[in-house]
Every structure is written in structure tokens, then in C-alpha cells.
Amino acid sequence: MDLLEYQGKQLFARHGIPVPSGKPARTVEDAVAAAEEIGYPCVVKAQVQIGGRGKAGGIKVANDRAQVEQHAGAILGMDIRGLTVGEVWIESASEIVSEYYASIVFDRSAKAPLIMLSTKGGMDIEAVADEDPDAIARLHVDPLLGFQDFHGRRLAFEAKVDEDVVRPVGAMLSKLYDAFIAEEATLVEVNPMIVTPERGVKALDAKVTLDDNALYRHPENADLRDPSAEDTQEQMAHERGLIYVKLDGDIGILGNGAGLVMSTLDVVALAGGKPANFLDAGGGSKAEAITSAVEVILSNPKVKAVLFNIFGGITRCDEVAMGLIEAFKQINPTVPFVVRLDGTNDKEGRQLLAEANLPNVHIKSTMDGAAKKVVELAAAS
């Protein structure tokens, strides 16, 4: 789960990481009230989970009430790269001496947290990594030992931060590590981490990704999920406990098992089609899950044809067939379906479908054949 900037900053503050004071606001009135409390100059920042807010005009400095009103009015409702701004964060403006970059990522390859620090902050770090990789100091932390002061010193000296901020930079990295571990994050990023005129450091931005699987241990974080920010289909799938990713195309896809679904997307693409979604009904999918899945897929108006690709292991193909039959009863779909059932109880499943004689449902026995058929049907409709 990705947090909004201000949610990340509030999480940082709980771990003693210095951040500018601020308040979120969903209306111009609230924004003005927040600014009056915080004082001027302050910054009005669009809260959307996407980069490039500044360039898009989503971050503005306000020196008085009128300017806050003006900027908040302009930013609330603004479209930034496809996302509508529903919330702004009003924070006191900070004096910036230098801009650094700091992050901790969950490094799957090394099986350890990876800390990165650079004095090239305030810009796209991937660009820095490409152009000047030596400008980023990197260090893995043994997760059983945890962050030690020497990690902070080593990173600070290697990144060549100003000598008089080696300690505060190390202290901030230590607290970021605490937050990373305590909140079970997979990413915490501060860009820029600024050096202030008082020669302290402060997190001027916050990017935090939390592990969804661990949210049950962090109810206060779980509450931060903003369903209104999710796409309609994604929200629907989430409520039904399905793993769903919306894509751009017009062929609805359902399979069981992440690898098989990904493979199905590839095979459909190879056949010239464009998948509309990734939907994993999961191992051991029961009839209800299948019915729910059909609902989710068909709620996307772009879908012109649907491919069911099931390889039954724990999942029983007869259960899948029953779910599909039930879904047809409830929804009465108007687009064609291609169904490929293989594996456990595949014969029984195919038999059930044959008996149900569902309108516009095509049974195929191979994955490749099914893909070709669904691409054909989508193109024809």
C-alpha cells in the first residue's frame, strides 16, 4: 500500500523523524484554516500518488491568505497525470540549504534492507543512478543485527554529505530504519531530505510503501487506505477478496494462480489481443469466487470478450463450471466467453458446461487455442 506524502510524513513524525508541520485539507476553506494556523509562508501540495506534482503545478508557495485560497482552489480537483487531486497538504515553508536523497528499500535479491543516500537530492533518483551511480552510497543492513551507528557514518562519509551534518544525517537514517522495520514498510524514501540553515536535516517529502500482508498488525495504517482513490473495478475486486489489476485492453482474463494468469496475458498478447485485466481467482477457487470474478470483469465496459483459463490443481474444474453457470444466471452477459478447463475434474467441468448450454460460450482444450479464439471474438465484436 502506497501512502500519500502527508500520511508518510505523519508516520515519520511518529518515529521522531523531523518533518515540517502541516495539515491536510479537502476543501479550500479547510486549506485556508490550516494555513492561518500554520502561518506564512506555507506550501500548498497536491496529495496524489504520482511523481511530477511540482511541474504539473500541484505545489505552490503561499505568502498570505489570498494566495492560499487561490492555490488551494486551483489544485483541488486538478488532474495530474490522470489522477484527480482530492486533498492538499498545507505545510510551513522550509528554508533549504542543500537537498539530499535517502531511501530504504526491501532488497529481495540481497534479502536485506538496502539504504541509499546521495547529495543529489530533489531530482529523479533513477536518473542519478543512470548518469552518476557513484553519487549514491549504498549499504545493506543485516536485518538480525539492525541499523548501527556505523552504517549511518559510513553512508554519510561515502555520500560526501557536509561534514557538519554527518551526525544528523546518520540519526535520520537510523530513525528511517526504525520506521521501516516497525511499520513493516517495503520502501521509505525522502526526496529531498534537506539541510536547514541551522545545519539540521528534515524530510521535505515522504514516500512510504507498506506491506499489505502485514497490515493486520498495524490497524492505524490499514485505515489509511483510501478506497475512493482506487479504480471502481479494483475496489470491487478488493472487496471480494480477488487479486485484480486493471489493464488497457478489451479482453477480460481470468485464471487461477498468478503465474498462469501472467502467462495467459502473454499468450493473448502473442495472439494479437489486448488484455483488459489481470484477475487471479486463486488456488482452490470455489464457485462463488468465480461468480464474483465474472461480475468484476464485466463491470469494465471496455471488455469485448472474456477468456477463462483454468488449470485445476486444488481448484476443481467442476467448481469453476458451476461458478460460471451461476454467474450467467445472475448477470446474463452480452459478450462472448472462451473457456479452457484442464486438470482436476476437467471432464466433469466440461460436461456441466455442455449441459448448461450457455449462450456464446466457447470451450477450448488448449491455452493457445483458447487465446486465439478470444482474440478473434474480441476483434469481431
Binding site: P143, I243, G257, S263, L265, F311, G312, G343
Partner: protein, 293 residues
């Protein structure tokens, strides 16, 4: 031969008294696996269709000599159960559980690695099947038969798909190892490919990768350096968009890294054949091994 599980496997199942735990434990036993014990705190002294249940792994190991554990408990209890199995001296721990928090996996992985006493396979994996010998986990064993193709995969159903295509072409398997789709798998492609390389029964190694991480790239390096047997690969997720987790917690393209294209390229650069569809994998296997018996 075969790898990891065979007739000498003595299995203890954590979570054996749960509905799914009971079902799959008995299926594993029906296949021929020696299922010697279960662990459920508070149910010590009971049995599941003759399989004795203990309160702790230590009791189970001490009383039955179990050498392999299957973890079938819900995610919030799984890390603890894996660590208990390791502490009790179980040499091979196979974690089926899906949805274990990533930081739990980190602690578990590093503890097991530093102690150097046990191997963890999974979590979020379908288990290990050595056809004709033993199965541990949820792989639908009836689709596979004994043979000389070793399969290692990050994905369950995709493995069945490919295994089934191979089976239809007449190939059997030495062992099928599901290493799981999680960010921190206990056992990696490199480990399993190394075991297959040393296994006299395995003539061809098939690896099923997917987007995310760099396990496939590391496998490519390892294969070039240390593997003499033919290796055939499949990678799922060529069309997966960056930044979206594709079902598996580990399956995500981050920035410019972890794409299927990059993985296929890395493997092909080291001489590993990469099939573009599961069907193509079976076709290449036939071409490599000749028509099956």
C-alpha cells in the same frame, strides 16, 4: 534418485488439524509419503487418521524422527512455525502458506541462513513432488509421472500447465520443486538447479520464472558457470505493466528492473533456451531430449 523429497522423507505437518491441513496431509500420505506427525499446540496426544499430533515440533521430532516439515498454518502463525521447526532440527521445511508478511520472511530467511542447519522451500509455494516416491504439498500428483525432467518454478498452476504439457508429450519428472512467488523465497533457482545438476536421474532442467527480482538473472550466471545439463526456461509476464504487483508478492516490475524481456535475454545470453509459451517449452523439451519413450 530425485531431490529433496523421496522415500526417506518423514513428514511432520504444522497445522495438520486444520481443514486444508488434514486434507493435504492425507493426500500426501495416500501418495506414499511417510507422514509421521502433526503439530498443533494444545492438541498433543490426539491423532489425525492415525497420524499422531504433538504440541511442539520438538516433541514431534523427538518422538517420530521427522526430517521434513510442511507448514500449513495461516500467515500470522507461519513464521513462528517455520522457526520452531528449524529450532527443532528439521532439515527441510516446506512452507505452503501464502501471505506471510515480508519482514517476517526476512527474519526467517536470515536466521535459517546464518544458522545453516535447515533448508526452507517457499513460502507461498505448492510444495515438492518426486513422482513415484513422495509428495509434500499441494501439487496435483496424478498429472505427473517418473522421468528425467527436473522442474523448478516460482508459480504453482503454471508448473502444472507446463508439467502437464511435458507429460502429454511423454516426459516424466525426477522432481518438481515449487520455490514460491514471494519476495524472499527460502530456496532459489540457483539452489535447486545445483541440486538437479548433481542428481543422476535428471537429464533436463526446466525453470519457470516470472517478472520481479533477479533470481532468473542469477540463475543464468550460475548455469553458465556450473551447470552441464541442458536447461530450458519459461518466463511469465512479458506483458505485465511496471509498478503493478501481478498476484505474487514478488511479481512486480520496479523501474527498469525485473522485466520478463530482461530475464529472457540474460538467460539466452548464457545459452539457456527460453520458450515463449508453455506449449513452446514442451516442444523445445522434445527437441532437446528426443521423442519421449
Amino acid at each position: 534418485m530425485s531431490i529433496l523429497v523421496d522415500r526417506s522423507t518423514k513428514l511432520v505437518v504444522s497445522g495438520i488439524t486444520g481443514r486444508e491441513g488434514t486434507f493435504h496431509s492425507l493426500r500426501n500420505r495416500d501418495y506414499g509419503t511417510q507422514v509421521v506427525a502433526g503439530v498443533t499446540p494444545g492438541k498433543g496426544g490426539q491423532d489425525v487418521e492415525g497420524i499422531p499430533v504433538f504440541n511442539t515440533f520438538h516433541d514431534a521430532v523427538q518422538n517420530t524422527g521427522a526430517n521434513t516439515a510442511m507448514i500449513f498454518v495461516p500467515p500470522r502463525f507461519a513464521a513462528d512455525s517455520i522457526l520452531e521447526a528449524e529450532d527443532a532440527g528439521v532439515g527441510l521445511i516446506i512452507a505452503i502458506t501464502e501471505g506471510i508478511p515480508a519482514h517476517d520472511e526476512l527474519r526467517v530467511f536470515n536466521t535459517i541462513k546464518k544458522n545453516g542447519r535447515s533448508r526452507l522451500v517457499g513460502p507461498n509455494c505448492p510444495g515438492i513432488l518426486s513422482p513415484g516416491k513422495a509428495t509434500v504439498g499441494i501439487i496435483p500428483a496424478s498429472f505427473f509421472k517418473e522421468g528425467n525432467v527436473g522442474v523448478v518454478s516460482r508459480s504453482g498452476t503454471l508448473t502444472y500447465q507446463i508439467g502437464n504439457e511435458l507429460a502429454r508429450s511423454g516426459f516424466g519428472n525426477s522432481t518438481i520443486v515449487g520455490i514460491g512467488g514471494d519476495p524472499v523465497p527460502g530456496t532459489d533457482f540457483v539452489d535447486v538447479i545445483g541440486l538437479f545438476e548433481a542428481d543422476s536421474e535428471t537429464d533436463l532442467i526446466v525453470m519457470c520464472g516470472e517478472i520481479g527480482g533477479d533470481a532468473e538473472e542469477r540463475a543464468a550466471e550460475f548455469i553458465a558457470a556450473s551447470v552441464s545439463k541442458p536447461v530450458l526456461a519459461y518466463i511469465a509476464g512479458f506483458t505485465a505493466p511496471p509498478g503493478k504487483t501481478m498476484g505474487h508478492a514478488g511479481a512486480i516490475v520496479s523501474g527498469s528492473k525485473g522485466t520478463a524481456a530482461a530475464k529472457a535475454e540474460a538467460l539466452e545470453a548464457k545459452g539457456v533456451r527460453v520458450g515463449r509459451t508453455p506449449t513452446e517449452v514442451a516442444e523445445v523439451a522434445i527437441s532437446l531430449l528426443g521423442a519421449a519413450a
